[in-house]
Amino acid sequence: MSFSRPPLTGRNLDLGERASADLCFIRETMDRASAFAAVPGLGWIIMGGTALVTALAATRTGSTAEWLALWVVAAGLSATIGTSFLVHKARRVGQSLESRVGLRFFGTLVPPLVAGAALTAVFVDAGLEARLPGLWLLSYGVAVTGTGNISLKLVTWAGVVFMALGLCALAAPAALGDLWMALGFGGAHMVFGWQIARRHDG
């Protein structure tokens, strides 16, 4: 039994092109739809409040070690708050943290934070504690900006603001460190957190 192959015509090529275009469309839609939507706006607001209280308390500490310990504890508390709210929101919006996009989110978020933590030890060792606010804001900003690419657009802008404040903190007199911390980890978290909560369901 023999089959006659259809001639290579413009119409067949059109069908192939249409099929390719459809596959591209499906892939692009899936990529766009894979955005990690569980960034917790409410969590950010509470993290911001925590940072504001900490910044106020930090201005009253008696020593550098005490100041550092206060901020490290606040960072741990904020991380716990952020993670709890993120897990809760992910569950609510039906997004798995172990999905490809969830893993990409954490894969983007964590490395700059680890770098920031490692450099913190270097800065402390070098007696540069007064410059830590700039380092922390900058490394946190890099982490947040990166996650914005696979998350909400607002998150990218939040990251840019954190980075800008970090650069300001590094350039400004060291004595203003707590002010930049209050503006960044406090104010920016609260402003962007409120926007995320309002526009993206909590």
Binding site: P6, N12, G16, T29, M30, A33, S34, S96, V101
Partner: protein, 119 residues
Amino acid sequence: MGDGAKASKRAGSHLRRLPGKRPAELDPTIHERMRLGILSALAVNDVLDFKDLKGLLDATDGNLSVHARKLEEAGYLTTRKSFQGRTPRTTFRLTAAGRRALTRYLDHMEALIRAVRDE
């Protein structure tokens, strides 16, 4: 007959004419771009709400409603209406039949590309 249905018929008959190719018709329910977009977006999310889907596909309320209803009628997605506070919220979820239909459609497209390339 709409563009989607015509293209579906053309693609189906094209495959039928090729040796060793599966004689299957393109599923006209999802061949339409908006409906294909809805299924693709739901394939990578357990649940999507109306607002997110509308923004994602750059659709109007009416357009999205019409196409989502067609997919629901075909059994490819389920719609759930609820209230969040006082705001109504509509969420969509892909069904097993919808996932199978999308997979079939992808297979079909790939077969079509291979067929045209082999000529």
